[in-house]
Symmetry: C2
Subunit: 461 residues, 2 copies
């Protein structure tokens, strides 16, 4: 056992207490009211990095939320890894659905419940604690590291690109090891070989300048909710495919090998549907459930609103109605291009009787894939097998981690996702939790990964 591992085992209780304090900070990046909390979360991780023994810890302000960096580069003969994670969280609503308040972390059944516990505060604390323990036990690290921790992951890493471009030297590394990402299923170690991209739009339809009495005006003018539902309904075809011209133009069809690999994965669809309380699996005809989630793009409605939504009825034709849309993209879809296709489709469909306004979120993300034979990826598979005693599955993610594409584009390096969150931990939903058992597994895996990577560069031992 590596000396740092026993150190970490001793610190477990204190570490959970620290993680709780971290979760108590409601660092909701999407809500301007929580900007101060995102700053506090940045200060929290900065303090952790200082205490770990890193000397050049910095909180960089951006036009949005801050970015925290720290590095340890004292072994020019060893490779450098860039450790990525984020300290912002998703909004907690619907609040009423939480069993305990989102920002009051509580342990139930060896799971730590709270917004951000799994995405990404728990997993992010792991490499910080591992680096701290290695420095404490060995006075040096087996490889060089640079931490890059951001506060805008949940809103599309809007200012990360510009930051990376400005700090290429600070961030130079052989590859990225990301504390964000997720194990695909509990007790089912996995290595991510790709993630979907994202683009987001908000659309609003206005038919009159004011709310109208549905008796006095009903039948005379357009109902904006009717216009909106007609428009939104036109975005999908009856067979579940997306009806937007140009949407599939750049989509790379999954290879036969990839489809065979997916088909070989043990996956109980009935159990999955029961776990989320869904009646049936639906989507694009001609693809399996996992294929649709990993290898095919989607267009989802995330929110819809308009008119009277209080108790009882109100006989109103509202002035306007709106909806939030996001798409998950696969190689080689371009988020900007896809948003443009959707805007064109909506503008063509609106007709002369209503006004359409569309806001395209600037924070699109490219889809990402990595070669199966990348040395960092192979090592991740080996360490996971060693730590869990199981052979990891290669998975493509249905979710988006914008940094995969970003690091590739801006620094030319690949990203290995080495997160110990698990995909069923209800992040982005009420009752998010982090398995405390994953904390132990993660601490062990990161310690061994850094050691093994260090050993690799010394040649065969």
């Amino acid at each position: 056992m590596i000396a740092a591992e026993s150190l970490l085992a001793d610190q477990r209780e204190a570490m959970v207490a620290e993680l709780k304090s971290f979760i108590e900070i409601p660092s909701v990046s999407t809500d301007p009211a929580h900007a101060g909390d995102v700053q506090r979360a940045a200060e929290f991780v900065a303090k952790q990095l200082v205490r770990a023994g890193l000397s050049d810890v910095r909180i960089h302000p951006t036009e949005g939320h801050p970015i925290v960096t720290a590095s340890w580069r004292h072994r020019s003969d060893r490779p450098t890894i860039l450790i990525y994670g984020h300290f912002d969280v998703q909004p907690p609503d619907p609040l009423a659905a939480w069993q305990s308040p989102p920002f009051v972390p509580v342990i139930r059944n060896n799971r730590l419940y709270g917004r951000g516990a799994s995405d990404d505060k728990g997993p992010l604390l792991i490499p910080i604690k591992v680096v701290a323990a290695l420095l404490a036990a060995e006075a040096e690290l087996p490889v060089n590291v640079v931490f890059l921790l951001e506060g805008e992951e949940e809103i599309g890493s809007a200012h990360l690109g510009a930051f990376i471009e400005k700090h290429r030297a600070l961030l130079s590394a052989d590859f990225v090891l990301s504390a964000d990402g997720a194990q695909w299923r509990p007790n089912f170690p996995s290595v991510i070989t790709g993630s979907r991209g994202l683009c987001a739009l908000e659309v609003s339809v206005e038919s009159a300048r004011k709310d109208l009495h549905s008796g006095r005006h009903g039948g005379a003018v357009a109902n904006p909710i009717q216009k909106l539902v007609d428009l939104l309904a036109s975005l999908h075809r009856g067979d579940g495919a997306i009806a937007v011209t140009g949407f599939y133009d750049r989509v790379i069809e999954p290879s036969i090998e990839e489809r065979q690999r997916v088909a070989a994965i043990a996956f109980d669809e009935a159990e999955y549907l029961a776990s989320i309380g869904a009646e049936a699996s639906v989507g694009e005809v001609g693809y399996s459930l996992i294929e649709r989630n990993w290898l095919r793009p989607t267009l989802e409605f995330n929110g819809i609103y308009g008119g009277y939504t209080g108790p009882g009825k109100k006989t109103v034709i509202p002035s306007w109605a709106g909806a939030k849309i996001t798409c998950r993209l696969v190689p080689d879809q371009n988020p900007v291009e896809i948003a443009e296709c959707i805007v064109r489709h909506l503008r063509q469909g609106i007709g002369p009787d209503a006004r359409l306004s569309i806001h395209v979120e600037p924070s699109g993300a490219w889809p990402y894939t990595i070669r199966d034979d990348h040395r960092g990826l192979i090592l991740a598979k080996e360490i996971l097998a060693q730590v869990t005693g199981q052979t990891p599955v290669l998975v493509r993610m249905g979710a988006t981690i914008p940094i995969g594409g970003l690091f590739k584009q801006l620094l030319g390096i690949d990203t290995i996702f080495f997160s110990f969150a698990t995909a069923d931990e209800d992040y982005h939903a009420p009752n998010e939790f982090f398995r405390l058992s994953s904390l132990g597994t993660g601490l062990k895996a990161w310690t061994q990964y850094l050691h093994a990577l260090g050993r690799q560069s010394c040649g065969p031992s």
Copy 2:
């Protein structure tokens, strides 16, 4: 000039102050939180009736909001009219759209702004003040009157039917003169010959038992907003007609005479559209704007909701989404039957991948029409012509006044709508107002109507 008229002219300022106090009571009947305010509004009108000189003023509790009655029956040789009005109001939201707070009445440009000013507090105060002035000036009324004022008009008069059935003797009258209703356009006197009926539903679609991350689950399961918009979009055809089987089965096509009468009305469509800030008039193909609003049924979406609606984006597949629907009905559509047709349509459309729940509001209303040669209607036309100097137009209302059908069914009597609200006064919308000039016209018209009706029964003079 009738003596009561000059009395009323002297009281104008005090009357506006009283109307302001009335509007200050936020008697929103649809919101249980305002039940106490609806009660206060009942007490306000009861006090007004007592001060008018009526001796048997009563506030009757119901299972919902109270009903207020009062009567004066001292001339058995004269006809009896039942005076109807309501003291509840629509909810004020969206609050942000009000130029001044909804329950802080303010006069701007000789208009009194505030929720309920036009619907129905201003118009309701008129007959009370007229009766008070007639009793003060003449110590008796030209006809017998019974007031029936309710607190549930805005929620479909849910308990009025049962109340009428229990109090037939108290309410016996020759016909109803209603302070609710509206003049069709400013400076364009009109008499209502019919109103549309109403049925209301709330529909909700659930696809999973919890909110899901759109990356982890997108493509695998149904999006309830997508299911909802597909369902809602299926309720109308491309030509604007309603696509629900059975919906038009009992609809009486407007007669050639009726269509000619409508076509003869001076109506500037461009001006109308400009007044509400709409680009174009749309609806069922084959009917004019006024025909669609008066003579044809509609199916309107009044509200839609689901998923994340806060600032920014949230990559969630919500657990559920819902919408509020109301239909305006024309003779001889049955509100219960129409709701059943819609429920059937929705149930057939939902598919096996989501759960549908539908709540049909119990407070449906029948459409209503009155014969053109009803003596109360003819008198209304004469008095309006006399007071305004213009020939009134016969209009069918696009709106619903459930009491038309209710009084016809339960008491066998017709209803003359004699309201001095005007249809453009933004009731059911932000910035509702009542023209103070209408107060003067209304007071004059009601005084003269009661006098003329009394004279009629004495035979030719």
